[in-house]
Amino acid sequence: MLSMFLAPEIKEAAKAVVSNAAAAAPAVPAAAPVSVPKLPPLETANSWAMPTEASTFAESTDNLYYFITALSVIFFVLIIGAMLYFMKKYARRSEDQKTSSLTHNGKIEFLWSAIPAVLLVVIFAWGEIDWIKQTSPPPDAIDIRVTGRQWYWQVDYPDYPGVTLTSSTEEPLITMMVPKGRPVRLIMTSEDVLHSFYVPAFRVKKDLVPGRYTTLWFEATKVGEFNIFCAEYCGDRHSSMGGVIKVLEPDSFEAALREAAKLEQKPVESAADFGKRIYTRRGCVACHTLDGSAATGPSWKGLYGKEESLVGGETLKVDDNYIKESILQPKAKIVAGYTAANMPSYQGQLDDKQITAVIEFIKTQK
């Protein structure tokens, strides 16, 4: 709708404005370049409407939204209409224009307190009924565990041992797969700061709190891919902590899930290429850049074979053993200038073959 007014030239002009501003801005110390997750478009072209409805909650939430919108428009028109009418009718025409001695009117004051109060109770009750539904997952829901980390999601399927999906800030990866028409319960926690799991198309959102579990449930009604956003500010790459949730027909769900979760070296794939897939799929990408710029962890560019000084003053040469140790026990030897607070241990998460592939990948980053 609004895009009618914004021809591509305007977007180009916007681009030119920011690049001029960038040129004029003082040099900012280069932080990690943050890329935008390339997410599928929201399936709505109409800026005035709510996004696609893809869960069982969406319709009722939207109906309440439109109901409040309708009431708001009515009240706005009445209030501002009266204001504009009075502005025209009672504009000062002469300095000695007389004004009414009206000071109050009990009846009308009662009415304009009582009518909104009744409407507000209706809105409250509607929101409350839906809230109770949204906070009571059905007993037959499929459980999925979600872990938030700066800055990616890890999604585990307890019913499908070994199946883990992760988001990536670089590639449009399937972060979560769910079957259509089946209730799904997410049991979520965070390993660092607060995050919030938000799927606009489902109208669901819940914070992930370190040290406790929060839950959220939904039942998808549409096959397709939908955006996941992190809605609670969590630091530098908050805005790239996105993901994709893919809804499938129930009969193709399990096979597709196993396929998506597969993280094995393909027959024709080199170890380094396999390592690159692990780099994006298992969250390394969130903290380690490939272009030499510093981020939460050391960049992998030129890392292999480099002399690094450690916290505590020692130095060492980065070799296979050091990399493996850092993956499994991140806090053992920390490179000076970094803390290992944000690096999770991959003990039990990556097997030896996968670790070797990661090392091979790092070797290629010269």
Binding site: V28, T99, G127, S196, A201, G235
Partner: protein, 549 residues
């Protein structure tokens, strides 16, 4: 009508006396002043400087958001900019603006008093404010802050930026707020002129009074919360950080226990200004005086019981969500009563469309949108979708900027002649108001749309389909920036070249209008006496018999 006691002066007419600006001279006379008017002007200047700082940060953010990618700043810098924008605007601009500047200047004048109850305490408040501001400046110069103005744990206890100096700054500012509130509370109780009963107080005084109550009761909680945060960061005692056995959601409860009432610390004084502007410029008795006055008090009380509506998706209990949602709707009623009463005041009035009145009418437009969109966020299921999106950003800007700041700018124009002794150029003023009104609505209305589409707040980058609306919003923010700059320029120019202000340029009937512009050091010659209410304008037609008394 109100009268000044002129018995001390034979003939009843005074030659113009030196104003409070010229009665004492030299830098020292300002630095150690006990004069509420001088302190009010000092607050005005400081808040305007910080308004400029916060505004520059805002325009930088909007420029970055012209495209989905990062172009101008790094993500870290972007995060620092929105934190600086939020923290400066809340703690250094909006909270002290109306009470500090207008409250200090006008409260004693409206009460017919020589000064506030405790002038030395008032000076101390200003210096505490200055000290808090210094800590904020230290923060900006030492790596800044990237937690957002809400300081949510555990991010705020783990980030490497200057959290301690910033929270300590906010901690100190809290004391300034508490002492000012205490001072105003006592002043309203003890310093009213003879005949100025509670039912004859200007509504601005009622608003400042209700604000003072919240400032005194809520601000200590913020101080304690920020102290706990500092203790956790410096002494590693686990209070909020789960890694040390603390509870991060507890911080949110503490924070919003203060910060939700603080929303009313920010908006109630704006309500007070609007009541004055609407009545004076339509020369009509304010409609529903008691309802407006008591709804301020009702808001002050209920505002303490709604903090959990910021936390519907935080992991707090489901029952708590239900209770907080209900109480949130309860606070909407007194707010609606005020808006209706202001519009009803226009009925059969004599409305002049000068700059202050245009700002008051703009306020009715924008604040009505701000209030109505709050209803969406109070509804539990709808809030799940809208929480932490641009819808919330748009909503609170419609309340904080479209409400408080628009009212504040209107108030500055209304009392500009009284405060400075000069009149601004009316034509320039109306153009400025138009630019601000258009710029504001273009900037923030578009954000409701992008918010309902699911665009989360505090995003340095975003998915490309949101770009159209972001470009519109940014264009709006530039118009708004130009409007505000234009306003600053003509107001400052009027100090040199503006026409001399008369004592009562708009025909106001409250006590501040009977003294000269700018007022003399002791405000009034002799003790003013009051025998009627402040909205009894001479133009009111008493022959019709519509008056209920």
């Amino acid at each position: 009508m109100v009268t000044a006691d002129k018995s001390s002066s034979p003939g009843g007419d005074h030659a113009r006396e030196p104003s409070f600006y010229t009665s004492q001279k030299g830098l020292k006379s300002w630095l150690f002043t006990l004069d509420h008017k001088r302190l009010g002007m000092m607050y005005l200047v400081s808040t305007m400087i910080f308004f400029f700082v916060g505004g520059v940060a805002a325009l930088s953010l909007r420029t970055e958001l012209l495209t989905p990618e990062l172009d101008v700043f790094s993500a870290t810098t972007y995060n620092k900019l929105f934190t600086v924008h939020g923290a400066v605007m809340v703690f250094l601009v909006i909270i002290p603006s109306v009470p500090g500047a207008m409250g200090n200047f006008l409260l004693p004048l409206m009460l017919g008093a020589k000064d506030v109850a405790f002038p030395r305490l008032n000076l101390l408040s200003f210096y505490i404010y200055t000290l808090g501001a210094v800590f904020f400046l230290i923060t900006l110069l030492t790596g800044s802050l990237d937690t957002g103005w809400t300081f949510y744990t555990p991010y705020s206890t783990s980030t490497g930026t200057a959290v301690i100096s910033a929270t300590f700054g906010a901690f100190i500012l809290g004391f300034s707020s508490i002492l000012t509130g205490l001072n105003f509370l006592v002043t309203v109780h003890k310093m009213r002129a003879p005949g100025l009963t509670w039912n004859r107080l200007p509504l601005f005084v009622w608003a400042i009074y209700s604000t003072a109550v919240i400032q005194i009761l809520a601000t200590p909680v913020l101080a304690i919360t920020l102290m706990l945060l500092i203790i956790e960061r410096t002494l590693n005692i686990g209070i909020f950080d789960p890694a040390m056995g603390g509870d991060p959601v507890l911080f949110q409860h503490f924070f919003w226990f203060y910060s939700h009432p603080a929303v009313y610390i920010m908006i109630l004084p704006g309500f007070g200004i609007i009541s004055e502007l609407v009545a004076v410029h339509s020369r009509k008795h304010i409609f529903g005086y008691k309802a407006i006055a008591l709804s301020s008090v009702a808001i002050a009380i209920i505002s303490f019981l709604v903090w959990g509506h910021h936390m519907f998706v935080s992991g707090q209990s489901e029952l708590a969500g239900v209770v907080f949602s209900f109480l949130t709707f309860a606070v909407a009623v007194p707010t609606a009563i005020k808006v209706f009463s202001w519009v009803a005041t226009l009925y059969k009035g004599s409305i002049e469309f000068n700059t202050p009145m245009l700002y008051a009418l703009a306020f009715l437009f924008t604040f009505t949108i701000g209030g109505l969109t709050g209803v969406f966020l109070g509804a539990l299921s709808v809030d799940i979708h809208l929480h932490d999106t641009y819808f919330v950003v748009a909503h609170f800007h419609y309340v904080m900027m479209g409400g408080t700041i628009i009212a504040f700018i209107g108030g500055i124009h209304h009392w500009w002649g009284k405060m400075t002794g000069r009149m601004f150029n009316e034509t320039h003023g109306r153009w400025g108001c138009l630019l601000v009104f258009i710029g504001f609505n273009v900037t923030f209305f578009s954000q409701f749309l992008v918010g309902q589409q699911g665009m989360p707040r505090r995003y340095a980058t975003y998915v490309p389909q949101f770009q159209n609306i972001h470009v519109i919003s940014t264009i709006g923010s530039y118009i708004l920036g130009v409007g505000l700059l234009w306003t600053a320029i003509y107001l400052l120019r009027s100090l040199k070249s503006g026409a001399q202000a008369s004592d009562n340029p708009y025909g106001g009937a409250s006590l501040e209008w009977i003294t000269q512009s700018p007022p003399i050091e002791h405000n009034f010659h002799g003790q003013p006496r009051v025998d009627t209410d402040p909205y009894n304008f001479p133009q009111i037609d008493r022959s019709g018999g519509m008056d209920h008394h």
